[in-house]
């Protein structure tokens, strides 16, 4: 049942047979959980991928070059919850946590 009072992503219809698409949680964004956003300085990033291996979401996306040595990363800001683990584990301190603007 669709309830117009709910956040658009929470308005849903029951799939016939209770069937779900694998990985469909991507439709749900968690960006409004965030107090601080990670901002990556790609000049400092050495492509070690520690932020990627430790991200609980995952909201760190390695950029191409699979299997061919160092790569860089970008953040999926729709799903990053702003935990700050990436900034904490980054060996070159290339990630800065920046306060989110408060939307009123």
């Amino acid at each position: 049942m669709k309830d117009p009072k709910l956040k658009p992503q929470l308005r849903f219809q029951i799939n016939p047979g209770g069937w779900f698409e694998g990985g469909s949680s991507v439709e749900y964004t968690t960006n409004d959980w965030r107090l601080e956003r990670p901002v990556i300085n790609l000049d400092k990033c050495v492509g070690c991928l520690y932020c990627w291996i430790y991200c609980p979401e995952p909201a760190i996306i390695p950029l191409d070059r699979e299997g061919r040595g160092p790569t860089k990363v970008e953040v999926d800001y729709d799903h990053c919850k702003g935990c700050g683990i990436c900034a904490q584990v980054c060996p070159t301190k290339a990630i800065e946590m920046v306060r989110e603007e408060v939307k009123v």
Binding site: I14, P56, A59
Partner: protein, 316 residues
Amino acid sequence: MMEEFKPVRSIFEIPRKERLAPGHRACAGCGPMIAIRQILLVSPEEPIVVNATGCVEVATSVYPQTAWIVPWAHVAFENSAAVASGVEAAMKSLKRRGGIDKERPVIVFAGDGGTFDIGLQALSGALERGHKMLYVCYDNEAYMNTGIQRSSATPYGAWTTTSPFGKVWPGKRERKKDIISIVASHGVPYTATASIYHWKDLMTKVRKALSYDGPTFLHVYAPCNRGWRFDPSLTVEVARRAVETRFFPLYEVEEGKYRITVPVPKPRPLEDFLSIQGRFRHLLRPEYREALETLKKMVDDRWTWLERMATATSKS
């Protein structure tokens, strides 16, 4: 019987194929979710996942969506090992009758409550029957999903809502159950502890466990910032200090042989681990000195015991 397996040597050899999608509702900085992701990434084939009730299950399966990109089953809190046994037996039977060519790995994810306490009987049964499965206990040291109640995996001295500290209690009064010894005593081919900070060690152990034709068990240390009371950005750091203070030793028991996989020749003071967590901070106050000494002695005794076991079983 064991197939070839390769230790994980570099982060670049790990496939980038995610088997867990974002948008799940675990807290920011959730340690268990890091453990699940790392294990799924390194599984050589797409596994079938059986998931006990707990934070991971609840957070990943909020109706009408799912975060799993692999086949996934949730039945109840206490029977994940029994369900995994059935999945494995069904695959064997299907293969025998020509329905499928190949069996897939079966991986159980269950919390410490779902493993050390309520799922222990089903786990013991599955281990005894010898089903080929990897049972992963992600240990956040309490019943987190229902609001931080102590379990038999909660360590001595830790605060939880059901093991408060005060004039009489120092936090939890009992020691942590030694689950690895219980599992190993079933004579399973492989069982090990692991931690999310030491991802290479963890992922190598996953590969090794999955290469065995029989039941294997991993006890993965997965800090919970919500229940342990620390800043979400410190999840990985807390896991690291647990190992570096010898609080959570990383070792394996392979065919009856004990081996410490991450030696800690010069342990950091235990206070380095305790002081960054609200659940332990009271132990640093003078009135809890005795409890702190008790905890330190438990940590030392356990390490000494492990070293002895490693030496005793390395010969032969």
